[in-house]
Subunit: 222 residues, 2 copies
């Protein structure tokens, strides 16, 4: 399967790219608005994997080329860019593509982080609204601590959630996520449930801020 | 310490009453709008504790009498009753009382449960608004699965959160919660962070609805 990580040069994109490249045989492609940056990051990931004895090709392209012919396109960009990035790649998406939305809208004040979704209710639903109608959208990988994910020396045993209106698409993304060592993906249901899933991101940041010895906080549901 | 569980005849109130009575020496008092019902439930809890070899007094009163002279008053009532219950006991609260709010506003549709907070942002902030100004308010114990909590045969190893503007009050409630075996209480910061903490309740219900073999889902932050 071909997985394109748009914004694959940023923190959550970096973590997912490295983990999928390290733990699976899927074709991992890094996208960025700037193709030079994407190529440089892809090279960096290859070097990192090579240092662990893994001879692995990771390609970098501009977002549109990265999304073209990808089976799964992950929008690993900040929430306020998501809509524009979806539109910039819309021409190369079709009913075989699954768009994955890990972004969370947040605001910060002196009390901590607050969930600050777009008017439509959640970033997942915003992506659904902006994507071509036949493209299936799944919200996923929201509350993974990027630093833990991107450091292949760190083992974890964490859960993450999928939400979206197409059950097959949720299952496919859940199964793809489950191929990352230590990650369990649970199903939180329809896109209408995305806000509660996205809200966990500011929550775990607030927990990290308010409790000694808790950093890069993740979640297990049990 | 004297802990009054208003709505201590309902599910989360029952669980907290039984656990505190079983695991600690605190004076546990059950409140209800109907004092007969409160007494009947208190007797039931005593019988349950007695069957486990614990000779323990649990008293039942109407809400106002239960709250009177309690150090900690837990509003274990549905979200849409919380404001009225706060007002009904306001006369007996003072600056030494800590009001604890575990309720979560939710709506249900065909997709699942949705967080549906009051206009002020969260039930915790609603309680703060309705309580006398000198009473300290802590949101806590939101996302504990009531059935697991109320069944003393069930061991668990779960986290719950405290939120509120008074750090000492958060600490006291966290420490009281931590006296329940298997419960760890983490600090999620100010009352402005309550919405994200309360949102976890519909989320864990949605997770239970959408994943085989997951029931009464709880959370660990790690």
């Amino acid at each position: 399967m071909r997985i394109a990580l748009l914004g694959g040069t940023g923190d959550i994109g970096e973590g997912l790219a490295l983990r999928w490249a390290y733990d699976t045989d899927h074709d991992v492609v890094v996208g960025s608005r700037d193709p030079e940056k994407a190529r440089a990051k892809a090279d960096e990931y290859e070097t990192e994997l090579d240092s662990r004895g893994l001879d692995r090709t990771v390609n970098g392209f501009d977002n549109e080329m990265a999304a073209d012919r990808a089976d799964v396109v992950v929008l690993a960009v900040p929430a306020y860019h998501v809509g524009d990035v979806v539109e910039s790649v819309s021409d190369v998406l079709d009913e075989d593509t699954i768009l994955v939305s890990p972004a969370v809208g947040m605001s910060r004040d002196e009390d901590g982080m607050h969930y600050n979704p777009p008017g439509v209710g959640s970033v997942t639903e915003l992506v659904q609204q902006r994507a071509p109608a036949d493209v299936r959208v799944v919200g996923a990988f929201h509350n993974l601590a990027a630093d833990r994910l991107a450091n292949l020396d760190v083992e974890f045993d964490l859960d993450t959630l999928v939400v979206g209106d197409d059950e097959d698409a949720r299952e496919l993304v859940a199964s793809l996520g489950g191929e990352i060592d230590g990650l369990r993906v649970l199903d939180a249901g329809a896109a209408a449930n995305a806000a509660e899933a996205e809200s966990v991101t500011p929550l775990v940041i607030n927990i990290a801020m308010n409790n000694a010895d808790m950093h890069d906080v993740g979640v297990r549901y049990l």
